[in-house]
Symmetry: C2
Subunit: 141 residues, 2 copies
DNA sequence: ATAATTGCAAACACTTTGCACCTGT
DNA sequence: ACAGGTGCAAAGTGTTTGCAATTAT
């Protein structure tokens, strides 16, 4: 079937494992290379760029651009229905939450019906502070 | 009052006028420099970057990053209560809509109460397709 | 007079490409 | 054997910084 084209290599396995391990946050290419290096694993930046491009094309990863970081962030996605739910992103810790929620989906309908605007959920990210970071802030205040 | 700090220069007037003229769409720095050059007006790229940064700091412009274009886009913004309403942005035409809507503000409350996440409205943009672009697409399909 | 602004060139940061070598099938 | 993958170094982009000349006050 849609058997992943191409060879299976050491590097690809390492990169994919890393993305899966970190699937609840965005990672940059530099982060991947740096974090792997810390573990004594060396993978070329070029290789990461190329393989991630491939994963994005195949729909197994997603590319995001964020306001804060310069450069792109990548994230593993097993779900192919990111256009069917909203996403929350904590600006403190970078946690990325896929939020299945009927109430929120009603809002997309409301915006469509009353404001004539079709929200693209896969491109939209609701930025804010997650509960854990809010708790931390309260302690430090 | 909040008298804009700094000198008033020819270049700044030109750049600000350009942004105001194009306030319903986002523009890149290159577009500004190029479009002005077409009119026979020459402004240094550095100057545009620096002045726009200033405007962004003062809250008179906004910086966006988009999936399609590489690099940042800027847009003039006059309102100062942007953390009290949501924003819609059309990924086709770049139209940017400040949306005062109680129903939408319920989103923030709901997400806070039921999902323990505090949305920052000024950092959040709802991306999608506006009615005009949706109509255009239908015609071309 | 003097403090701020301009804009070139150079430095940066992120990403892509060319190419010789290596690896998986 | 050979199609495909790797990674260095070099080339591309978009953005920022150093600095001498210019301009606004």
């Amino acid at each position: 079937m849609t058997a992943s084209k191409g060879y299976k290599t050491k590097q690809r396995e390492i990169i994919l494992d890393f993305l899966i391990e970190n699937k609840e946050r965005h990672v940059t290419v530099d982060e991947i290379v740096f974090d792997l290096k810390e573990r004594g694993i060396s993978v070329g930046k070029t290789t990461v760029y190329r393989y991630i491009d491939k994963l994005v094309e195949e729909g197994r990863a997603r590319r995001f651009v964020t306001e804060e970081k310069n450069g792109a962030c990548f994230q593993y996605v097993e779900c192919n229905d990111c256009d069917e739910h909203f996403h929350l992103k904590c600006v403190e810790c970078g946690r990325f939450i896929h939020l299945e929620c009927d109430h929120l989906n009603d809002i997309a309908r409301h915006v469509y019906e009353d404001h004539k605007f079709t929200i693209d959920r896969s491109k939209t990210v609701l930025y804010g502070i997650c509960d854990e970071c809010a708790a931390k802030k309260k302690v430090n205040a």
